[in-house]
Symmetry: C2
Subunit: 336 residues, 2 copies
């Protein structure tokens, strides 16, 4: 059977169960943004490892080495944020084509270093090897969190408000602009694609709020990623598409190119916004304090229900959502 037939998640599922029995008590393996390893009486470690491949996740000519270095680390830190943990170290492996110059790599490291320094996260190891063809980057990040406090995808409760921490779709439109237009008006969107901000402070704060239940980051697009929470929690949802936060930049871009902003916002991917569910009664207060602390909005976009699949509505009427998110074996936006 070809791998495409079962897809990325089907393949992972096929072997994840096998290893479950080796996981120690208090540990948590494949299925969330990070794994959880108990390290002491009061603390857990969280770990995530992600691979980025040239012409699948990025096109070398279309982004600067500084941006690529920054973003490679940022998307990994976003996984630490998704658990509500504090990052403690990173490990960088790369397979480098022989044609690369040290100048290019120095700039890559500069971008990587700038973000490391900002959050005080040491690069502590990794691997460097040659590549016969593509530039391949693998980053592993570690973090710590009080024992049992990590937010899992399986923790959503019926009645929870579903919320996101940022406008959705900007990054996908930024990629669209990089590939198709690259006009000056898209600078903001392109920057949102190249320099995603990991929600580290926000997620650690959210993790402290008793009303917050499930949490993850949006990497493949909310249209696909919401299903991870719903499947893990065995719940359904109503998503009010008119409440999905769309930036004025995205609206402007879509007007110009006669495309639907919701298409980017739902199926685009690489937002790296947090996606969380919080108790209905606590949400208002949490959103208010969040706004006071971080001078930015926690956007409610729907509700967790008992039904076992998401329903997308527009002004309270169910609508059909055609497209899914980014699946690395099906609809890779870049390499097909």
């Amino acid at each position: 059977m070809q791998l495409e037939e079962i897809g990325e998640f089907g393949f992972i599922k096929s072997f994840a169960k096998k290893f479950d029995k080796l996981i120690p008590p208090g540990g948590h393996g494949i299925g969330d943004d990070c794994a959880i390893i108990p390290i002491s009486e009061n603390r857990d470690m969280v770990i995530s490892s992600d691979m980025l491949v040239e012409d699948v996740h990025f096109i070398k000519e279309k982004s600067s080495p500084e941006d690529l270095g920054y973003k490679s680390l940022a998307v990994n830190l976003s996984d630490i944020a998704a658990m509500g943990a504090k990052p403690t170290s990173s490990f960088l492996s790369f397979a480098i084509p022989r044609t690369f110059t040290t100048e290019y790599l120095d700039k890559f490291i500069e971008g990587y270093y700038n973000l490391s320094e900002k959050f005080n996260i040491p690069l502590m190891g990794g691997d460097t090897t040659s590549s016969p063809d593509k530039f391949v980057i693998n980053i592993t990040v570690t973090g710590v969190i009080d024992k049992g406090k990590a937010k899992l995808r399986s923790m959503a409760q019926e009645g929870d408000i579903i919320a996101v921490t940022d406008f959705l779709g900007d990054s996908a439109a930024g990629l669209h602009a990089i590939l198709h237009s690259n006009d000056k008006n898209s600078k903001h969107l392109i920057n949102r694609h190249n320099r995603p901000e990991p929600y580290l402070m926000q997620s650690q704060w959210l993790c402290e709020q008793p009303g917050v239940n499930a949490m993850m980051d949006i990497s493949d697009g909310i249209g696909s990623d919401i299903n991870h929470i719903l499947n893990s929690s065995n719940k359904g949802a109503v998503i009010k598409t008119e409440q999905i936060p769309i930036s004025s930049h995205l609206k402007e871009y879509c007007k110009q190119y006669k495309t639907d902003p919701l298409e980017f916002a739902i199926s685009g991917g690489e937002d790296y916004s947090l996606l969380l569910t919080a108790n209905e009664n606590s949400f208002k207060q949490i959103a208010k304090e969040y706004n006071r602390n971080f001078k930015t909005t926690l956007f409610p976009i729907g509700k967790i229900t008992s039904k076992n699949e998401p329903v997308w509505t527009l002004n309270n009427k169910a609508i059909k959502k055609e497209s899914g998110g980014f699946n690395h074996f099906f609809d890779s936006k870049i390499c097909r």
Copy 2:
């Protein structure tokens, strides 16, 4: 400047220092087989991350998927062994060409699982993505060790006996046989190349012995790897080449192909034997107990000196060592 001009280690050195100031007290970053992260009052975590690239580290057609899965994990566990730590988890990322079948990947996972189960090490996460070209594997492993007990490359003392835990060169001859002869008599050597045994139990025991000072694993060949200990410890060495342990299988193979076993043993690489230095006065007793516990030999091959470079001798006469070890940007044995 082309990367080849400064090489793998030159490039790593160029940025490692930059991150040093971000490393927390008690932590240890780039430069040993694993990084060390303090996790509690009495324990440290060790972490290593390694990348394996098709046609650089392996040729798909020349090894079975089970062997490749097994070996990918084994070489990483060898890094945990090098510190004297106990492995606790692994993370597997791979970039998979679209032509791969699920049957191939199931077999890869089977080999990976067999070794995981043997040492009770859960696979707890990772990443799966498509690759436009080569099969790329990245594995991160974690381990634990009592605080401050990890064995570093910098710990060699003048007068220490240098020792290895296994015959050297078998794996390199196995690779030679895979690429050039593949006759039935090389089965043992090929197996040594495809299924290296990580010295986990042995290294944890060695780590407990007060006389053992520096430790690492031999991955690039002792001719190159000994320099890591000497440079880090700011010492020299005398290596008695006639004491380097050569298996009867390697002798037989070299007789047939009119090659020098020492060439494989010194410059071959992928031995994954432990390389350690131990106090001169304790060594005899350590070697005796090691032999009693593990029914195998700790081979002394030389001595740490104050001089700042290794001297290779044959029957007490200095000889010239022409070739170095495996450097991924210069003399990749497979892909050139």
